[in-house]
Amino acid sequence: MSLKSYSRGRAIHVMLVYTGGCNGCDIEIVNCILSPKFDAEQYKVFLTWNPREADVLVVTGPVTKHNEKPLREIYKAIPEPKAVVAAGACALMGGVYKNCHGDIPSEEIAGPVDQIIPVDAKVPGCAVRPQDIVAGLVSALPLLLNAD
């Protein structure tokens, strides 16, 4: 293990971007990192709101048209190596908001997250469970640690 990946593994910073879901996944993710019950911070995973110091981008919600451009810019601002985790049914496939009435796509939604930025790990659930979030984050870690 190189020095870079060793030091990276001691401080994984997670940035949460919220693109128009229902708040449920969002709070569960904050809960899973901050709350002493799940406490991802004991594994050196920290929550940040600054894209320039983030390693993992967690995206929740179906990306609304207004949120498409900010999401791309945030993705660009995160330094390499980076991993993207899409969390929740809305982020994976648009959830209940993707279509109105059968197959007619809703004009408010720009599509699931993987149509806008590349996604490395997907966490299903409506709303996602904190245990699944931790599993999803862990599954995305090799991308960061084996980067160089």
């Binding site: 128009g20 709350s35 019950k37 900010p70 908001y97 809703s106």
Partner: protein, 375 residues
């Protein structure tokens, strides 16, 4: 407010924030017009989250539309599904069994507990005390476990269905026992937190006198829910809802209208919620939990108001061939936007975020199609 903006006399600099900003959990756009670090005007723009739930609901069968309303908000999901079912029940004259009403109220008050606890945790994080915030998230887990036990999911539990509650949410002896134990634990933990919170001189000096909303302005800005009650107006829709008739509880009010009274307001409301849950568990009537003997008919526009953790929630729709038409949803956070803007004005720019958070914003609820008139 508008005069300042048009004349550009006192406005020295503009601080734009958002839609995605480190200080704000949810996406919204905020423009602060500052003069020597004092906020002179604030403008909040929502609409980033607009997903058009009413549009998707249009023409759906009423049962499907009910379960869709739950996805409007992940914090007050039970309130939306309850009020949507309540609208249809009023329209179709469905008599809800008493046991189902009690179970709905237990869910609603559990939701009030977790929503208020989340509000306090968010508030403590914004004011810079992360230890309190973590502590509150830990206390909140007790409620989340109870909600997960009853509904099967920690966030979207979907307890209410047309004519009663889902069979999964039936409360047997073991569940009632667990709720009772949970309430004892919660009361102990929240009391300990409240003692620690009010005796902390650092926190008290940070929040006293910040984000003032006077009673007159709160009424003028049409605030609702705890935001209004914290300014001294005893306005609670639970006192007039027939579902809450058998329960004995107090309407909590605070006098000051600053961040301190807003935060303490939620602490005291938690105890009232615990009181209501205990009464409901003690007096839970026997009987069926769903009423399936109802017929679909065409109904003109029907409306329903209930009191949810953030204030007054309004749903209205008409029914045609069993399908939802002309749905309108008015959420409490939407009514509080004016107060959020107003509370920033005249305070230091570092208090602006705290002044907004004190009104308990939930921008997923807020993004409805609305017309704002100048007041």
């Amino acid at each position: 407010m508008d005069d300042n903006k048009q004349n550009r006399k006192v406005i020295e600099a503009e601080v734009p924030m958002g839609p995605v900003h480190p200080a704000a959990l949810e996406p919204y756009r905020l423009r602060l017009f500052v003069e020597d670090e004092i906020v002179r005007d604030a403008e909040m723009t929502v609409g980033v989250n607009h997903r058009g739930v009413e549009r998707i609901m249009e023409g759906l069968p009423v049962e499907k539309a009910n379960s869709l309303t739950e996805k409007i908000c992940g914090i007050c999901s039970n309130s939306h599904i309850w009020n949507s079912c309540r609208t249809a029940e009023i329209a179709l004259d469905i008599e809800v069994p008493e046991r189902a009403i009690y179970i709905r109220i237990i869910m609603e008050e559990l939701e009030r507990l977790h929503s208020h606890m989340l509000y306090l945790a968010h508030g403590c994080e914004v004011l810079g005390h992360e230890t309190f915030s973590m502590r509150l998230f830990y206390i909140r887990e007790t409620v989340m476990d109870l909600l997960g036990m009853i509904g099967g999911n920690r966030v979207q539990y979907g307890s209410a269905v047309l004519g009663g509650v889902r069979p999964r949410c039936e409360l047997d002896e073991m569940r009632l026992q667990k709720i009772t134990e949970g309430m004892d634990l919660l009361e102990e933990k929240i009391s300990a937190f409240a003692d620690r919170f009010v005796s902390d001189p650092m926190v008290m000096s940070r929040i006293t006198g910040v984000g003032l909303i006077s009673q007159k302005d709160a009424l003028r800005l049409a605030c609702t829910g705890p935001t209004l009650r914290a300014t001294g107006v005893a306005n609670d829709l639970r006192t007039v809802m027939f579902e809450y008739d058998p329960f004995d509880f107090d309407v909590i009010t605070q006098d000051d209208g600053d961040v301190k009274s807003q935060l303490l307001m939620r602490v005291f409301e938690n105890f009232e919620a615990i009181k209501i849950i205990r009464q409901a568990v003690r007096d839970l009537p026997e009987g069926p939990i769903t009423n399936r003997s109802w017929e679909m008919k065409d109904v003109p526009l029907t409306k329903s108001y209930i009191e949810v953790p953030r204030g007054t929630l309004y749903h209205s729709y008409a029914l045609e061939d069993g399908r939802v038409r002309n749905c309108v949803i008015r959420t409490p956070s939407m009514a509080n936007i004016g107060a959020m803007q107003y509370a920033c004005i005249g305070h230091h720019i570092t208090d602006a975020q705290l002044s907004i958070v004190q009104c308990d914003p939930c921008f997923t609820c807020t993004d409805r199609a609305i017309e704002i008139i100048n007041i």
